[in-house]
């Protein structure tokens, strides 16, 4: 059972890596969607 620390470390790296990647991906998509909505709004205002 000596190597439990190594197993734990590997597990933590994998899950933290995946969770961080999913989180940044979601955040970036949300920010981009906001930008897109803002741009559409500006264009429609300019058009009218």
């Amino acid at each position: 059972m000596d190597n439990l620390g190594f197993l734990f470390a590997a597990n933590v790296f994998v899950w933290c890596g995946i969770i961080y990647y999913v989180y940044t991906l979601k955040q970036r998509n949300r920010a981009l969607e906001k930008d897109l909505d803002l741009l559409k709004e500006t264009l429609s205002k300019e058009g009218s």
Binding site: F6, L7, K26, L32, L43
Partner: protein, 238 residues
């Protein structure tokens, strides 16, 4: 343009995939830490295999998608294929990084060293560097430019390293163990059935995760394209 019904349908599909992936990852974790027996020679550390191998599988699969989509992009010159290749390369690099992190953590207690310059490890590091270079190239390229084509060529050439990585443990004497799932005796003959089932479950869970991440990455690239298009429209109209 997607109708509201179509958008709802797509959203439902996305939610189903999220649930399926979540359940598969949860069952995989239970299987790794509760169901599967401890390996006799390596002990508890061998359980890293159930993360390490699926991460490797996912990255190779992602790079295979880059390879196919890059060929299709060069052939058909359609932006759609370029988007898929770019999205898949990012996911591949993330999981290849996890392979290069979990590998040394497994190696340290078994080999007594974090890293050895054997054929499998070195060729995997080269693969990672190739696709990091690909992403760096992409970061500077605009859609439809020559750089997108150069990136596609790099995406194709980079993939040619993967068969070399696979066969490296058979061609040379390496520290890295030989394949256990696909052997000369057949598929899965060198493993305990419960270990094989857990590994299979992990591979399925990570494959679902790939499609989930791919959906988000592709959506991101499409939003970026739409923003660029509207910005150009705004520029020309003013």
């Amino acid at each position: 343009m997607i109708s509201s019904d179509g958008a709802e349908e797509k959203n439902d599909e996305g939610n189903t995939l999220v649930w399926l992936t979540g359940i598969a990852l949860l069952v995989q974790m239970i299987s790794i830490f509760v169901y599967v027996p401890t390996e006799r020679t390596e002990g508890v550390i061998q359980r890293i295999m159930y993360f390490h191998v699926p991460c490797a599988w996912l990255s190779f699969f992602a790079f295979f998608v880059v390879f196919i989509c890059s060929i299709l992009f060069l052939w058909k010159k359609e932006r759609e294929w370029d988007i898929y290749a770019h999205a898949s390369a990012g996911i591949g690099v993330v999981f290849c990084s996890l392979v290069l992190i979990t590998g040394p953590i497994w190696a340290r207690p078994i080999w007594g060293a974090w890293w050895v310059w054997d054929a499998r490890l070195t060729s995997t590091l080269i693969l990672w560097l190739i696709y990091v270079a690909y992403l760096m190239l992409r970061a500077q390229s605009d859609a439809g430019s020559m750089r997108a084509r150069y990136a596609a060529v790099l995406g194709i050439v980079g993939f040619l390293n993967i068969p070399f990585i696979h066969f490296s443990v058979l061609w040379w004497r390496t520290f890295h163990p030989q394949p256990k799932v696909i052997t000369n005796e057949g598929i899965g003959k060198g493993m305990d059935p419960s270990m094989l089932a857990t590994l299979g479950l992990s591979l399925c869970a990570f494959t679902l995760l790939y499609f989930l991440l791919m959906g988000e990455r592709v959506r991101q690239e499409k939003i970026k394209d739409e923003i660029d298009k509207l910005k150009r429209q705004k520029f020309y109209s003013s």
